[in-house]
């Protein structure tokens, strides 16, 4: 925190941080433009994705992105994920973490400044606030005086617009979990499930409070990433940096001009405070790296505007590193070490994990079989002295139509297989599984005599009779323990 607590040593310290309301000022420039574009794209994706339709044929939902919790399916365009494949979610989370680390290694808190939902929605809410209540000075003035009718009217309108935005945010959220045309109609006619209204309410509340009121407090006190980020960063990461080598000593524009004429040292910083007033977290970037700084670059835009007016070079505040500032002070050339072991490692890990996921996604089959060996008992002895093992097999049919599967075993000569619930067609065990369903069957496998070893490997093969593609799963056939010689 950059707030200097105004107490003398030895006095009682305050128990709580005094609240300081932040009134970020409007600013224009490169980074503001990037932030608007990112905001439109990310919010556009969030609000509009549920409305994209995707034809999957009869009997399947025709919504491009759908999390179908009752039926345990996740649809993403041409991909359909079953609960058994939840590891893809794990993979995505690993990728997300690695991408965050890579971003951080290249240019610090890009996530915080541009992409984090807290930043994006706060930006949107700030935009509404400025549009209704005016810019920084006007808002500060209105708040410092007794409320006038106009202030009250403006604040009412602001909160109404905030609540509408928050409500849309919650509304879009629930659309990901249900068929959109049906749900929208049900919501409008008050016939939607209670859970839908509850979740809209929860997200309306969180959006309204987090983007409207909590804002920078989320970054300062609630979010773990600033703490983790500080441990992951290094001296070569580009951060929004005040180039003190150029800026100090701070002088007014006039004094600086005079000093320069006399050949005395004069910095470019005129101490106008524009970098501070535009900051959404109320940070003074000139104090150096700061936990409160989300590195959105708005202070760069503010400073560039001032520098341009003063006809001094821009980028007194810029994406830079302390290493480079030191280099310039010592008369060496600045370097951009984007490619270094840390970034290579993160990039390689992203490629490896992403590649693995794509490979497994590309090579997955629409038929699968899971086998679970009975454990109690592991085997039974038959009346003729033979040994019987029982298994629970689950055949997964991810096709859009019902399929017939032949169940066989490999690797266990002389074994006889019976699948309860399958039809016996000429000695073959044929099981029918409905479209986009799985079916659990009991498989009973018998050998005439106890296996010579306590346990023998056996492979269950499930062959789709429609396309002759087979899914396999290995298990073991167990018999009495054989004493080791």
């Amino acid at each position: 925190m950059n707030v200097v607590v105004p107490v003398e040593a030895g006095e009682d310290e305050p128990f709580y941080q005094p609240h300081r309301k932040i009134y970020p000022q409007r600013v224009a420039g490169t980074f503001r433009r990037i932030k608007w574009i990112v905001l439109i794209v990310t919010l556009g994706i969030y609000y509009l994705t549920p409305f994209i339709r995707w034809d999957r044929g009869p009997g399947a939902p025709s919504q491009a992105v759908l999390i179908d919790l009752p039926n345990r399916r996740f649809y993403f365009f041409f991909i359909e994920i079953w609960p058994q494949e939840v590891y893809y979610v794990t993979g995505l989370l690993i990728l997300a973490a690695l991408a965050l680390f890579l971003m951080n290694a290249v240019a610090g808190r890009i996530w915080c400044g541009y992409l984090c939902p807290q930043t994006v929605w706060t930006d949107l809410f700030l935009g509404i606030e400025r549009w209704v209540e005016g810019d920084r000075r006007e808002r500060m003035l209105a708040d410092s005086r007794p409320y006038t009718a106009q202030t009250i009217a403006r604040k009412t309108l602001k909160h109404f617009l905030w609540l509408m935005t928050a409500w849309w945010t919650g509304g879009a959220w629930v659309l990901y979990f249900s068929d959109v045309p049906t749900l929208v109609r049900d919501l409008a006619t008050l016939q939607a499930p209670f859970m839908a209204y509850l979740w809209i309410g929860i997200l309306t509340f969180t959006t309204y409070s987090l983007a409207g009121f909590m804002r920078e407090q989320v970054c300062l006190y609630m979010c773990p990433w600033p703490r983790i980020q500080a441990a992951l960063t290094d001296e070569h990461a580009f951060n929004v940096t005040y180039r003190f080598d150029r800026g100090e000593p701070r002088l007014s524009a006039k004094k600086a001009a005079a000093a320069r004429l006399k050949g005395e040292p004069a910095g470019d910083c005129v101490d106008c405070g524009q970098c501070v007033v535009v900051c959404p977290t109320g940070v003074d970037i000139r104090q150096g790296p700061n936990l409160g700084c989300i590195q959105c670059g708005l202070c760069i835009d503010a400073c560039d505007t001032v520098m341009a007016k003063l006809e001094r070079p821009t980028r007194l505040i810029a994406y830079d590193t302390d290493v480079n500032i030191r280099a310039r002070v010592e008369g060496r050339a600045a370097v951009a070490r984007v490619i270094r072991p840390r970034t290579i490692l993160y990039f390689a890990l992203i490629v490896a994990v992403g590649g693995l996921m794509l490979w497994s996604l590309g090579s997955r089959t629409l038929t699968a079989v899971n086998v679970l060996h009975d454990r109690n008992p592991e085997y039974v002895r038959l009346s003729d002295g033979g040994i019987r093992n029982a298994y629970t097999i689950r055949i997964l049919n991810k096709h859009g139509d019902a399929r017939r599967f032949a169940v066989t075993v490999e690797g266990l000569p002389g074994a006889s297989l019976e699948v309860i619930g399958a039809e016996n067609e000429g000695g073959r065990q044929i099981a029918t599984v409905g479209p986009d369903q799985s079916r659990e069957l009991r498989a009973v496998l018998s050998l005439d005599a106890a296996p010579a070893k306590g346990s023998l490997p056996v492979t269950f093969v499930v062959t789709d009779l429609a396309d002759n593609l087979a899914a396999r799963n290995e298990d073991n056939f167990r018999g009495p323990e054989v004493a080791k010689p």
Binding site: N376, P377, V380, R388, G421
Partner: protein, 294 residues
């Protein structure tokens, strides 16, 4: 070590922020107090807790408890959930009740439902004796193998479950093996010989001092009436096949001697007194599906 004389806040020279005054070998800590809303959230949780006491069951009283204005009760919630589940299963249960045993296997969906239903009922009612997987134990028949005392067809299994074995149900399976040793019918040495002969029928080792011919004669005189001349058993009276590899009470000489001496007449309850016909039907199908169904 903390020196309490120095335990006073100072202003940190680098940041200008007040320290907590704590000093660990020269390492000090900046005082970074929490915002006040953090405190408000703490108060809010207290208010929430009080609200919870009012709404939900909470404080124990002398003879009862504060039941909460909602009247919520975990038992009621379970009953409601179970009622919902029963309603959900209703149509399939009705179908199962109506369908004849022989027809159920022809309907995949109904069969899968019956087996799931039967598995749940088996684990609740049968597993204590027969094991969770139906593997049985000494004295409790294994239901996965191909050996049946009273028959392994669906109808035979249904009868056994419905009426049980050797209980006071009029229709229960009844039979009685005599305690040949205890009643004095056979002498201990004779029992050793019969036991050896019975074990030899399944190809098991015979103790050296026993007389198999004597055992065979004693078997024909005393045992064949129930177990058959070839010792293949008789399912009508639950007499086990003595020539196979399946032994309910163990196959050691000692175990067989004990059986002949004291007899083994275990019983099974009549489940029609405890379970409804649909559950028994599901159980029948499940047991039949375990592996040995005939």
């Amino acid at each position: 070590m903390t020196d309490h004389d120095h335990d006073k806040p100072k202003i940190d020279a680098v940041t200008g922020i007040v320290t907590t005054g704590h000093d660990w070998d020269g390492v000090t800590e900046l005082n970074q107090p929490l915002p006040r809303w953090w405190l408000w959230i703490f108060y809010a949780t207290i208010v929430f807790a009080v609200g919870y006491w009012v709404v939900y069951p909470s404080w124990p009283l002398v003879s009862s408890y504060a039941s909460g204005v909602l009247g919520w009760h975990s038992r009621t919630a379970v009953v409601e959930d179970v009622a919902q589940l029963v309603a959900l299963r209703g149509p399939m249960v009705a179908k199962l009740t109506a369908a004849p045993l022989a027809d159920i296997e022809k309907d995949n969906a109904l069969l899968d439902f019956s087996l799931a239903y039967g598995r749940a009922a088996f684990r609740e009612n049968c597993a204590p004796c027969h094991g969770a997987g139906g593997g049985g134990a000494i004295g409790y028949p294994n239901l996965i193998d191909d050996d049946w005392l009273w028959g392994g067809t669906a109808d035979a299994i249904s009868t056994t479950i419905s009426h049980g074995i050797r209980n006071d149900d009029e229709d229960s399976r009844q039979s009685q093996m005599p305690a040949f040793g205890k009643e004095g019918t056979l002498k201990p040495a004779e029992i050793q010989n019969v036991a050896a002969y019975v074990r030899s029928l399944s190809g098991l080792d015979v103790p050296a001092e026993t007389d198999l011919a004597m055992g065979a004669k004693l078997f024909a005189d005393n045992c064949a009436s129930c177990h058959g001349a070839e010792a293949k058993g008789n399912r009508d009276i639950g007499a086990p096949n003595l020539t196979d590899a399946v032994w309910l009470y163990g196959s050691s000489q000692q175990a067989v001697v004990t059986t002949i001496t004291n007899a083994r007449n275990s019983s099974m309850p009549s489940w029609s007194r405890r379970l409804d016909p649909t559950t028994i039907k599901a159980l029948t199908l499940y047991v039949h599906s375990l592996g040995g169904g005939e």
